[in-house]
């Protein structure tokens, strides 16, 4: 809740707005190469994924290892609605978010009472299950062949599929969602979520409905991941299960960790870093993956709280692993609450 009083609050948002909606498009237009647009759009989509992960892992402290699967659910929802029902982006955008949120809600029902590491393992399993469905339910998802999404970005029939228009659409949706996530995480609601991350038993004793709030954070973050999936599907025009596999979940997690758990600006910077760095290092060939690994390793070693984080990633993991062996008061149900 604390804000620096030295400069007016609107300065930073205006600067970021100018950068995203004026400076960057101008630069992109001056180069006018499809590759740069592609990178910018990809970076924006991962900013949204990282921001949505920030809500569930950074703020609510739930170690989520299957986030990419909800991104995939959103993308497949968009692709299938387009190819089977002929719906355009205007409709698939909200519907992708809602379907991803619904799937998240349903899988959260049985898993949300799991504590700590058991929850992390459950999300891992859920992510794998959803991935395998995309891969193996060939008649519905076309399996490994993927789906060609026949419609580009549009708004109420008005095509937005030009390079610059696509960039602006993606940027507008991402900025809107990130602002929404910012409001969720920097509010009293966000504080209640943080208290669960810090000490969920204690939060419980303060009247915080921990299970319900965890469900909400998980479902909301899936909603935003689904929205990102819809953007991705319409932007690239082709999706396949490989885009949503486990390593993507880990990539998103890494963005949040490098940026700093609990910090939304951190999540955004982490996403930019881990998307732009590998692209910038393309000249190094296969060494670039080692470089990315080094960045993550060094950030955990020397910046335990990430660039801007509230909590150290190691502390969160230690807390989660430790809880698995901690004895509960009533002796029953270790790992289950």
């Amino acid at each position: 809740m604390s804000a620096s009083k030295s400069r007016p609050q609107w300065v930073l948002p205006v600067l970021i707005g100018l950068l995203v909606f004026a400076a960057l498009p101008a630069v992109l237009a001056s180069f006018d190469r499809g590759y740069f647009y592609q990178i910018a759009n990809l970076a924006l989509i991962f900013v949204l994924l990282s921001a949505s992960m920030h809500l569930v892992t950074g703020v609510a402290g739930l170690l989520h290892l299957g986030h990419a699967a909800f991104y995939g659910v959103g993308a497949y929802t968009a692709a299938l609605l387009t190819t089977k029902l002929g719906l355009g982006f205007t409709w698939t955008l909200p519907l992708s978010g809602l379907v991803a949120a619904l799937v998240a809600f349903l899988v959260a029902l049985p898993t949300m009472r799991l504590v700590s590491i058991y929850f992390a393992v459950a999300t891992l399993a859920i992510g794998q299950m959803l991935y395998l469905v995309m891969l193996n339910w060939v008649e519905f998802t076309k399996g490994p062949n993927g789906i060609i999404v026949t419609k580009g970005l549009e708004l109420f029939g008005f095509s937005l599929s030009g390079r610059l228009a696509t960039y602006y659409t993606v940027a507008a949706v991402v900025v809107l969602c990130v602002v929404a996530i910012g409001r969720l995480s920097h509010s009293y609601y966000g504080n209640a979520l943080r208290s669960i991350r810090e000490d969920d038993q204690c939060a419980d004793a303060m009247g915080v409905r921990t299970v319900r709030l965890k469900m909400e954070a998980f479902t909301l973050s899936a909603f935003f991941a689904g929205v990102a999936g819809s953007l991705w599907a319409h932007m690239t025009g082709y999706i396949s299960p490989g885009d949503f596999k486990f390593s993507e979940s880990i990539l998103i997690l890494a963005m949040v960790v490098v940026g700093g758990l609990g910090s939304l600006p951190g999540a955004v910077i982490g996403a930019l870093l881990l998307i732009l760095l590998p692209e910038g290092l393309r000249g190094l060939g296969d060494f670039r993956n080692i470089m990315v690994g080094m960045v993550m390793f060094l950030s955990i070693l020397f910046l335990p709280k990430g660039l801007l984080g509230e909590v150290s990633a190691l502390r969160l993991v230690r807390q989660q692993l430790g809880a698995a062996w901690r004895r509960t008061d009533n002796g029953i149900g270790i790992g289950w609450r």
Partner: protein, 251 residues
């Protein structure tokens, strides 16, 4: 005459150990009650039974007429029982203000839609409660500080502020004087008396007799899981059973 808190034949078994054995007690509205006993007497367990942290093995606990057996901890908290922890449990990576606001938002829940579209009334009520609680313990000047950076004594008050932000009907303090020096303990005693003076019902769980004897109107004594005495401090001080429990006269 109904009591604010009624404990009837409460028992709690951990494996072969009866940590709390058939305890019957009550607390009335507006009382300042002490709960004392030697180490391992079952004070914290009884406390956890009241706050819903630990389920009862037998018996009932009623708060303002409502049985609270089997209710979730957060439900019990929202009924109006608020607590602090013996081994300080502040939220270390949150600011002092944010820590206290959790108590307020716990009892005045803000949903995701409120956060998104800004239900200003609710948010104002939460911030008002938070500032009032910070003021009550005198921590307003460090509101932006990270809780982990506060000295130990201050963190105790932070916990109390967080409990007060819930605007409880019944406040239970678990060993608030543990780890404090004599001066700090005296300050704490004065502070607790002041809270009580404002009409708050308080139960003080203490290991050390002095604080309890000096400020409480009534004292419950537990030893090996049983209630062995219940009365005003001057009577308790002379009770042979209490002396035996504390000094180990027999043997």
């Amino acid at each position: 005459m109904t009591h604010l808190l009624e404990i009837e034949n409460a028992s709690r078994r951990f494996g072969g150990v009866l940590a709390v054995n058939d305890v019957t007690a009550h607390v009335d509205e507006g009382e300042l009650v002490g709960l004392i006993g030697p180490n391992g007497a079952g004070k914290t367990t009884l406390f956890n039974l009241i706050s819903g942290f630990t389920p009862l093995s037998a018996g009932t606990v009623r708060f303002a007429g409502t049985p609270i057996n089997g209710l979730r901890t957060n439900r019990v908290a929202r009924l109006g029982i608020s607590r602090t922890f013996q081994n300080l449990r502040v939220f270390p990576n949150m600011s002092v203000f944010d820590n206290v606001s959790v108590g307020a938002v716990g009892t005045l829940p803000q949903g995701p839609l409120d956060a998104l579209f800004g239900a200003a009334k609710r948010a104002d009520a939460i911030s008002e409660r938070t500032w009032a609680a910070l003021e009550a313990v005198g921590l307003t000047h460090v509101a932006d500080e990270l809780a982990a950076n506060l000295p130990y004594g201050r963190r105790k008050y932070l916990e109390i502020a967080r409990a007060l932000a819930m605007q409880p009907r019944f406040l239970i303090l678990d060993e608030p004087a543990a780890g404090l020096n004599d001066t700090e303990t005296r300050e704490l005693a004065a502070f607790i008396k002041r809270l009580h003076g404002q009409g708050l019902t308080i139960m003080l769980v203490e290991h050390d007799m002095n604080l309890v004897m000096s400020i409480c109107q009534r004292v419950l004594v537990l030893a090996t899981g049983r209630k062995i005495a219940d009365g005003p401090p001057e009577v308790i001080r002379q009770d042979p059973a209490v002396l035996e429990a504390y000094l180990g006269v027999d043997a």
